[in-house]
């Protein structure tokens, strides 16, 4: 039948001889003898190019619950007591305190910047409440030059790497010190120095990009990995599928890190998927996969460190699904009491908070005390408020910045638009809020 169709195509007339099949023989050999040695048939694998598997004569569906819940790797309990001492990564006191200070500084910054949006000082904010360990634990397991692609709730990764409070506040204010020059909404951070690709709002778009960067790293043989963070909601996007499959088939050194925090804005996980979360999808793409307690910073660290090892040594993608809970609202544009109970939120805040668990751990270790904690928390408040005050005083960039960096070089037509605007603003200077902006 295929030959008949091709005969009508002009192109095919040139290409094929009408009397001779142009197609290669199928890979599967036709069995001439039925029921040839039964044992032989059972032992041999089928020859289909698409799957190397044994035959079965039983009509049986693989049920979706076959894994019965991929187990969740953890190192410590809610009181900071380690279950299996061999799993303690044995980090220095200095490093452990850096983790704690990063998580708490992030938490303080979140509280103050969220409030500042409510007061109309910045236009928008997203908090990281409840997910601090997913950021710090994973960031600590990476090399500084490993490239990070985030979604929008990974500020702790930047915090750990050394993004300053001034830099955070400047971006939220969109002032002259903002690397993004005030062009994007708050929390759309980025830093080439810290190997953190600038955040964009659309979901999951970072995932195939991350796979591409990992492919570039492989070709460069630079010993680095890419880590790509995304939420369980973003994993429903088509881009997630493309990213997983490309990373696997192109054999890229990438860690896909899913923050499964229970909600995609107002969509609970019950409406997000029917399978066993995101982890179960990993093996389907040929990726080594682990599910981890995202509120256990040590577990996140161990899993990420091990994943990095696999990715960089074997040049293949690894999937980590970090189970956690989004304690805060989706953003300042959301009121989550509209779709979940305050009791549920309180439960996680009080009973399984990553910062509390880590505090318990370091207190047990004797390297941190309640007094130190109080002094430190006061210090974080002071530091954030000072950075915030500095950021608030800075002007916005000159409005002519709006025309820069659309392309590498300013095109002629856009240059003309800029000149027209300059003349226009000069004529109407009292109609535009020029005092808030640096002069052009």
């Amino acid at each position: 039948m295929a030959a008949r169709v091709l005969r009508h195509s002009k192109c095919a007339r040139r290409l094929i001889h009408p009397n001779k099949s142009n197609f290669a023989a199928p890979a599967l050999q036709i069995q001439r003898h039925q029921h040839a040695d039964q044992n032989e048939m059972n032992e041999t694998l089928a020859q289909f190019p698409g799957a190397k598997a044994k035959y079965t004569e039983k009509l049986e569906f693989l049920q979706p619950d076959v894994y019965n819940g991929i187990p969740i790797y953890r190192v410590m309990d809610r009181n900071g007591v380690i279950f299996d001492q061999t799993q303690d990564p044995g980090l220095s006191d200095e490093e452990l305190l850096k983790w704690y200070k990063s998580m708490t500084m992030l938490n303080t910054m979140d509280k103050i910047l969220y409030e500042s949006q409510r007061q109309g000082r910045i236009s928008f904010y997203m908090t990281n409440y409840g997910e601090e360990a997913t950021h710090i634990g994973s960031a600590a397991a990476l090399q500084p030059k490993d490239l990070v692609y985030g979604q929008y709730r990974e500020a702790g990764v930047l915090m750990y790497r050394g993004f300053t409070l001034d830099e955070f506040c400047d971006q939220c204010y969109g002032n002259i010190a903002d690397r993004g020059k005030g062009k994007q909404m708050p929390i759309h951070y980025g830093s080439v120095d810290l190997s953190f690709v600038t955040i964009s709002s659309p979901l999951a778009t970072q995932m195939p990009q991350a796979a591409g960067s990992a492919y570039a790293f492989k070709r460069a043989q630079n010993g680095l990995v890419v880590i790509c963070y995304f939420g369980e909601g973003a994993a429903s996007e088509g881009d997630a599928h493309a990213a997983f499959n490309f990373a696997a088939t192109l054999e890229c050194p990438i860690i896909f890190f899913c923050r499964n925090n229970g909600y995609a804005i107002s969509t609970p996980v019950q409406d997000q998927y029917r399978g066993d979360g995101i982890a179960v999808r990993g093996p389907a793409y040929g990726m080594s996969t682990i599910r981890v307690d995202g509120n256990d910073a040590l577990a996140v660290y161990n899993a990420t460190a091990a994943a990095r090892d696999i990715a960089v040594k074997e040049n293949r993608p690894v999937l980590i699904e970090a189970m956690t809970y989004r304690i805060g609202h989706h953003s300042t544009s959301d009121d989550s009491s509209a779709y979940r109970s305050v009791d549920e939120v309180r439960y996680w805040n009080q009973r399984d908070h990553p910062i509390t668990r880590f505090y318990n751990y370091i207190q047990r270790k004797g390297i941190w005390s309640e007094e130190q904690d109080k002094a430190w928390k006061d210090d974080t408040r002071k530091q954030v408020l000072q950075a915030f005050a500095r950021a608030e005083k800075r002007l916005k960039p000159a409005w002519s910045e709006m025309f820069t960096e659309v392309y590498d070089e300013l095109p002629q037509d856009l240059k003309r638009q800029k000149e027209e605007m300059e003349a226009h603003v000069k004529m109407y200077k009292d109609k535009y809020p020029l005092s808030n902006y640096e002069s052009s």
């Binding site: 062009k183 994007q184 964009s200 709002s201 709006m402 025309f403 659309v406 535009y432």
Partner: protein, 260 residues
């Protein structure tokens, strides 16, 4: 949505922000728009309406402020509709849902909390493919849609006070197919045309209107068609007031058209 409509259902799909419609672009352009045409009318997805909040909101930046109408007006088979007010929105939306063609319905989000009207309780439709002359005038025709209509009304008030003229304002309402006749009729009367939208200038829908009217009304035109639009850059957060075509820029455009 497409599949639901293809089996006779009525589907009203909501895209959270117009800026996030692009993952569906293949389905909308390659499938929904061509469903009836490619099947020789054996199948269609006219029961589909896709609503999306669009346009500037004051603090939306790149991804919460876009006006993507021009991507869709370039696709035959779709209808593109943009209401300017609550009464218009209800009538046009009901007409869109009832329409036997797939409709892209872009709602200016800044109007959600800013526009108040006494909307009739009962069912009513407003016609698709038909513009509305919102205000009559003799010296200049202005065409706009959605939230930009209010900016244009302010600019018109300013111009009629200062420049001794009367200006006709047309709300296009449907951008695809668009009501060429109403605009043409107006321009033959006034001889001057100004079009304004937030979307960037290059390939913005004003280009289509300008080209068509210039073709059809060349000898009636006393001045080049003015386009007062967003700039050819992504939508910048802190520079929004400089980016959008505000009252002053529209007023200057009016002046330029009248004094040519």
């Amino acid at each position: 949505g497409i599949g639901f409509a293809a089996t006779g259902g009525t589907a009203v799909a909501e895209i959270q922000f117009a800026d996030y419609v692009y993952p569906a672009f293949d389905q909308i352009v390659n499938e929904a728009a061509k469903y009836r045409y490619r099947s020789g009318n054996e199948f269609n997805c006219g029961g589909l309406t896709i609503r999306m909040p669009g346009m500037a909101v004051g603090h939306g930046g790149h991804y919460h402020s876009q006006s993507p109408e021009a991507y869709f007006t370039h696709t035959p088979g779709l209808r593109v509709v943009i209401p300017r007010s609550p009464i218009q929105a209800k009538g046009l939306l009901l007409a869109s849902i009832a329409s036997p063609d797939p409709v892209i319905f872009i709602e200016p989000k800044i109007l959600y909390r800013a526009a108040v009207e006494h909307v009739p309780n009962d069912y009513y439709e407003l016609p698709l493919g038909q513009a509305e002359v919102v205000k009559k005038g003799a010296d200049l025709t202005i065409v706009g849609w959605g939230s930009q209509i209010y900016v244009l009304e302010d600019a018109i008030r300013l111009a009629e006070n200062r420049l001794d003229c009367t200006i006709e304002l047309i709300d296009l309402r449907s951008l695809l197919p668009w009501d060429v006749e109403t605009v043409e009729q107006s321009v033959r009367k006034t001889g001057r045309l100004l079009i304004s939208h937030e979307a960037p200038k290059t390939s913005g829908f004003a280009s289509e209107i300008s080209a068509t009217i210039t073709e059809r009304c060349f000898l009636s035109l006393e001045a080049p068609v003015q386009r007062i639009t967003g700039l050819d850059t992504p939508f910048p957060l802190v520079f929004e007031k400089f980016y959008v075509p505000g009252v002053e820029r529209c007023f200057l455009g009016i002046k330029k058209a009248l004094e040519f």
